[in-house]
Every structure is written in C-alpha cells, then in structure tokens.
Amino acid sequence: MTLEQSIEHYAASVPDKAAVICGGETLSYSCLWKCIQARASQLEAEGLRRGEPYVFVATQDAEFIVTYCAVHLCGAVAVPLEASTPQERKKQIQAEANSQMVNGKWLNGKCSDILYTTGTTGFAKGVIISEKAWTANAENLIDRLGFTSDLLFIVCGPLNHLGSLSKIYPTLMTGGTLCIMEGLKDLNAFFSIFSLPFARFATFLVPSGIRMLLQFASKDLAAVSRKIAFVETGAAPISQHDMERLCQVLPSSRLFNTYASTEAGIVCSYEYSKYGCHPGLLGKPMKHSSLRIDEAGRVVCSGDTLMSGYVNAPELTAQVLREGEVYTSDLGSIDENGMLRLQGRLDDIINVGGRKVNPLEVEEALSTFDLIADCICVPAPHIILGTAPKLFYVPKSGHEVKPKAIADYLKGRLENYKIPLFYEAVDAIKRTYNGKPDRKAY
C-alpha cells in the first residue's frame, strides 16, 4: 500500500484516531483524508496534471502533510523546498523541474518526489525518488525500529529533508500518530507533547538535537524516559560521549544510529543501547538494502530504496548510480559482524548538524560581494553542531567588513544553514601551487 492508500484505509477503519498533531490542532485519519482529497481537487482545478512537478515550501505543519499527499493523489510529483530557499533559487528549481518534465524521462508514474540535497555530489541537485523507494524505506524503518499503531512519532526536523520526511511513511502506514514541531527551539513545547494520552513516543533527532537536550533538558528527558520507545539519530556523526549519556538518561529506550542519504535511502541502523556505544558504527543493512565497500574504500549501496536519478543531470546520475548501485562519498568498512563502520568522506562537504554544505557554493555566492577580495570556507569545530562553516576573508583594501554584513549579504542568496557561523578577516587566502584554495591549510 502507498502512503495515501494507507491513510484512506485508516480513515475507513479507525476514522477518529489522531493522525497528525501540530500546534494544538489534531487531525483524525478521516479528517486528514478529507483534507487531502479536497486539496487534490483544488490542485487539479488549478491545473496540476499527472506527472507534473509541484514545487512548494516545506512548512512544519499539518498543511504540509495535506499538500504533500494531495500532490501524490493527483499523480503529480512533490518538490518540497527548504523554508529559507532564496526566491531566485525557487524559480530556478521550478524551471529545472519543468524542463525535466518536458524531457519526460522520469515520468512513467514512477517518480513520487524530488528532494534537493547537497549530500553525495557536493552540489545542490534534485534527487528523484520513486514510490517504490519510499515504500521500501518505510518497510526498512518499520522492521528495524518498531513503528506500531500505538506510537506517537515526534518530527522536529525540516520536512523537506529525508531524515524527517521519511518518518511520515512508517508512522502513517502503521496507523500511528505524527506530531509535527517547528524544530527544538521551544523545548517546553517539546516536553509538553509527552503529556498527551499515548502509550509510546518516539522521535528522530540529529546529533546536535540530542546534544541540546542533554545540555539543557536532561532532567526533563529523564522524567519522560519510560514513555520513550525509541530515539533514532543520523545525518551526522554522534559522539561516544553523547551516546553514553543518552543511554544513561533513557535506560529503557531503544536508541538507534542510522545510515541514510537522499540518494541511497535508509540503508542500515545500529541499536547502540543494546550492542554498545561505538562511534561510526551503523549496523547491518535493513531488509530492502545491501551494501559493499569498493576498492577505494567507498560505501556502495543497493536495494529498493535507491533514488531513480538526478533531475536534468544524466552524466552525474551515471557517475553516482551505476548498475543498480549508488556510489556514496562516504568512506567505510564492514566489520566481522557485517556491520558498517564509517570512516570519513571523500570530499570537502561540511556536515552542519546533518545538513550538507558545499564550501564552493558559499565562496561562489560571495564572489559578487563588492567588499571582499577573496575568501575560503572551511569546517570549524562547533560545540553543538559538531562542525560549522567558517569563513576566512580578505576585505578589499581600505574597507572594514563586519561578519554581520557578510551574513546579511548571504541571507538572500543561500539557505540559512549554509551561512558561516564563524568569520575571520585575514590578509591573504592560502592557495596550493596551482592556485586552488588550500583547504587543508586551515
């Protein structure tokens, strides 16, 4: 069954059961299904046709679920974008999706979504995801993590991102309840969810989210520990210290570290609360996935969760997706128990709390800033995020350039998470012998 068929099924069998909770509002399965049908009729009346892309901003609310499912119900392709995507970029994505539609190579009713990511290639690309891949991802999660109909799953991350979007599927496909939050910034709102009348709670948190909770709310977390069935993390490395602390605070919860990417899908997950806290250990492949390590030490994934390709990028698709395998940029090994252990990346991508930033994109955006002569963007340690972009910049002669001016300039040109958090004015940028920015020198 697809996600929409599942919602329709539960709207008939358990119509009054809560499907989505957000900001004090609850949508039952029957109400959700009616809203989805009404939105689909509206979208069709506005001219949305089968196979066409529908670009929209991923808001953190029930409206998103309604629109997302309505687009699928129309047989169209959902293209949810980061809320802070600059206007120019939105237009570019719309044009890109439209032109791909004209080419028509990914249609055939197989394309469900296009998710924009920087992950595997280092450049912002539209990843085409099929309905089959979503179903396989959902079944992987249901099987490994234990989604059930009595579960309330809290989504705190951005819904255009695989980490959070992928949780809609197993939750609603098992008749559970989804609770959507706008990030973790209101920690009191997060903890108030646990007073709702549900038997089991679960959530997905990037490692920086776990660190935030451990730092400022470990007592509150311990107070609700018996209600938490499981916590999944992923998208960025989690430290051994944070894994151990979370095991102490949540002694009866199942705690998972998952390996996934938009291109490869949700591939494996390691239950560190059961098997021990080992950083970089990501467990065995799930039921619809398999993986191997190539001669270069790169993680190569296969199975039904893989993407169908990149939008308008046949050459890039051929580079990453070869003979049914996705070649990731992650380096790893498989241990004697068949578990994946990650050992770094092949490229210069900066992992900012689970979101990937290509430093070239930041430098390119600043190439038009009149007050800067040269710059380089590199990863720097950050106490919460793990790493964050740092900009070394050379002000044009005679000018004093404050970090805020640079951040403000970038604000309309890049998504917020790509904007550097650290700045340092320098006299010159170090370069290699052939003139390229020398990232290793920083």
Binding site: K185, L187, F191, M212, I384, L410, N416, L421
Partner: protein
C-alpha cells in the same frame, strides 16, 4: 548590574555567535532556530555563571534583547 552596559555586552556576545540574527528585532524568538536558542542559553550561562535550562527558553524570555537582559538580571538576582 548596569542595564545599558550589560545590554551592550550581551548584544556583542550574541552577535558574534549568531551573525545572521537581527538582535534588535521585536520578534527575536521567531527569528531564532533551535541552534540560536541553544547558543543564547549556552553563552549567557557561561558569561554570567547562571544556570539556564529548557524552562528558561520560553518565547516570552527570548522575545526581544531587552527580555533576554531582564532574564539575566532575574537569574543574577536569584543567585
């Protein structure tokens, strides 16, 4: 505590860590994300030696820079 001096000090501290946030906004909490809230709590607790936790991170306490200064004032008064 000299209110204006401490306000300047807090603005300087937070603007260095959160360069893209408009600290003069009347709707500061809505400009912040999870990282912004956490950064404010961390920096203020370190700088002033006060204990701040999830219960302090309310939209009311973080609505404006003045609300933040008042929160610090109150915490220092409790110490």
């Amino acid at each position: 505590m000299n209110y204006e001096l401490e306000k300047e000090r807090i603005i300087e501290l937070l603007s260095a860590a959160l360069p893209m946030v408009n600290l003069e906004s009347d709707f500061l909490f809505s400009e912040l994300d999870s990282l912004g809230v956490t950064t404010i709590l961390m920096l203020l607790s370190e700088e002033y030696g006060i204990e701040l936790d999830a219960k302090d991170a309310t939209p009311k306490n973080l609505k404006t820079i003045d609300a933040i200064v008042r929160m610090v004032e109150t915490k220092l008064g409790q110490a």
